[in-house]
Amino acid sequence: MATPVTMPQLGESVTEGTIARWLKAEGDEVEKDEPLAEVDTDKVNAELPSPVAGRIEKLLVSEGTTVDVGSEILLVATDGDESGPVEAQPREDVASGPPTEEFPAADTEAQPAVTNGGEKQRAVAEARSDGDGQGTVETAETLRLQRSSPVVRRLAAEHGVDISEVSGTGTGGRVTKKDIESHIEEREAAPAAAKAPAPSGTPSERVTVYEGDQIVELTSIRRAIANRMALSKREAPHAWSMVEADVSGLVALRERTKDEFAEREGVKLTYLPFIVGAVIDGLKEHPVLNSVWDGDRIVLRKQINIGVAVDLEEGALIVPVIRDADELNTLGLARKIDEVVSKARNRGLSPDDVSGGTFTVNNPGALGSVVSTPIINYPQAAILSAEAIVKRPVVVDDAIAIRSMMNLEVSFDHRVLDGGVALRFLTAVKKRLEAYGPESDIG
């Protein structure tokens, strides 16, 4: 075993040294403390005593070369077992690059982020909010959501945007400059829809508050959802249809493959990728459900960007979008869905991630729903809900059989399309899902 010998620090604030002359050659024996080399530094020229006894195995640096303090300069083969790494360096080693350090809490100003949940940050925010106790206590978090930042307020004022209408991807759900800029851009792209005034705001008449009642202030995300839902229902005349799908084959398929899939792909295999895949096929056959009402015309979108509704635990809903979903196979969809759902849950979505959707898939079945009437994700033309898979007695070939049944519903904008095409779409989706059998390929 060869022991490396490193360039020592021969003086305070010295950072490197030059091997002026080797005093030993490869193969020589050396005693402990015997001089190995003459070393030149900024401050001092000295002989380097050997930290160990042994035989010079290899000189790593040639004469005249300058190396950083702490760099290995030669190897000494010591007798018998290794007694441990060289410990005789009198000074601390110097890292060859700037040191990496821990983050001491005291030496920076309070960081803006609250979402990492530091006790200190919360305490700071609370301390700051201990004002004169009049009216509502405003914390940094509240102000951040209501008033965001100077540039955002300025853009909001310049473009007549209510900050509360914009969903925020910044710290704690804050509306960032990019968020509001995207919002403005989108609004400009869909002018007819966006001009509706925000229905949520301070009402002129409040409800009576009784003792024991609890006031829940709206977060910006809740406010945004409220506005969008009201807008959707107000603008689009909603109609609704439902079909039942026998997904026994799909259930069996998934049972058979899910473990192997999870292990192989590192991603859980849920029903959602299959549903989204079937929806995509349905949309390709019936593109009018992948469109937008544009006042006096309908715009059929070329891209198929599927929004997947994700229920966040705090009673908030967000719809990350899988762009060009038609380019993905089931595996790809599984991966992408997993990715966006995680991002959504970790509040890591960017404005790009939640915009540009052309159709939305809702999955209340995951929470046990068997029938639901979803609200269209305006300004899209339709939304599909996939319900829970329930084993039911059904009639097959005039006999009672137990099958896994899943309800599928579509809510659609009746200005854009009618029940006929809606049902044809639903049927296409149903047929696609029913086509899976236990031995099917997962594409």
Binding site: P98, T100, D107, V151
Partner: protein
């Protein structure tokens, strides 16, 4: 052009100015025969003689004061204080005297001196060979304070400082003396005026202002954030700390809306506070995040033992974490 490190570039700047102007002289402890404890002035005494490259007694107030006296009687001294940590005895002469001569004499007497001093944390330096002292001087009207990081800039700024008719404090980060190397142009090809900042790296997501070793680290972190996260930081170096190039700093702040200063000086009362206040006021309407600073904790300087020393200086991880958080705010 040849590749030089900071130390060599400064040496070259001194030598060129001394050749061009016989009034220029160097004075300080160990600058002559020994060529300076960092070897910055090595060889100068051989070329210019012991009068123009003068080994002074160990007396910082004298060094600065005599430099003033020389400068009002026709010379252009470049005084060296061996370590910025030893500048306090010279403080009176620099701040009360050199900086005020011109104003108090109603323009009769100007003091064209340059005072050079190495500063900044270095392994083993501990309390008295590691300090950042710029905060003490950056509110002294009549004085200019310069702290270039890169060799070509340092050489050019040193020449500008020597030619400036006002007293200039020229701070050199000792850790970067040999660490940073680049092509350094010969005589006068690269000119840098005092009072002008430099944008090292353009970006749109946040602005980071830094100088010294911290600038070097920040640039590396900026590159990493670009590659790994697609975050583009704009990195600005003031180069002259006093008076600041407010325009460049503010333009950048307005462009990105997010602003961070990274320095290794004690945070409270630092130059970074001045820069932050400037931005908070003048770029307020463009801000999309709070104005942030990173600095050393408010303790009396870096310790000798490496673990404590490492704790003191804002390190790569801390800088990266601060930049990421701000970019995502």
């Amino acid at each position: 052009m040849a590749e030089k490190n900071l130390l060599q570039a400064i040496h070259e700047g001194l030598a060129e100015e001394m050749r061009a102007d016989e009034r220029v002289m160097v004075m300080g402890e160990d600058v002559g025969r020994a060529g300076g404890v960092f070897r910055v002035t090595q060889g100068l005494q051989e070329e210019f003689g012991p009068a123009r490259v003068l080994d002074t007694p160990l007396a910082e107030s004298l060094i600065a004061g005599a430099a003033i006296g020389l400068s009002v009687n026709g010379m252009r001294p470049v005084a060296e204080i061996q370590f910025a940590d030893f500048i306090p005895p010279a403080f009176d002469q620099i701040v009360n005297e050199a900086a005020r001569f011109y104003y108090r004499s109603n323009g009769a007497w100007n003091v064209p001196i340059t005072v050079r001093a190495p500063y900044g944390v270095v392994p083993g330096g501990a309390l008295y060979h590691s300090q950042s002292v710029e905060a003490w001087f950056c509110n002294t009207p009549g004085l200019k304070v310069v702290a270039p990081t890169f060799p070509a800039d340092a050489k050019a700024l040193l020449k500008s400082a020597i030619r400036d008719p006002n007293p200039v404090l020229f701070l050199e980060h000792k850790r970067t003396y040999r660490l940073i190397k680049e092509e350094v142009p010969e005589n006068g090809e690269h000119e840098v005026p005092l009072g002008k900042a430099r944008i090292h790296r353009e970006g749109t997501d946040l602005t980071v202002v830094s100088y010294g070793l911290m600038l070097y680290t920040t640039l590396q972190v900026a590159q990493k954030l670009s590659e790994e996260h697609g975050i583009e930081a704009e990195v600005v170096e003031p180069r002259t700390l006093y008076p600041l190039d407010k325009e460049t700093i503010l333009d950048s702040a307005r462009k990105t809306g997010k602003f961070l200063v990274v320095s290794e000086a004690n945070l409270t009362g630092s130059v970074s506070g001045e820069i932050a206040a400037l931005v908070a006021r003048e770029a307020f309407e463009w801000l999309d995040g709070p104005v942030m600073r990173l600095g050393a904790p408010d303790v009396p300087a870096a310790a000798f033992a490496k673990p404590m020393m490492d704790f003191f200086v804002p390190g790569r991880e801390k800088i990266e974490s601060a930049m990421l958080e701000l970019a995502r705010y």
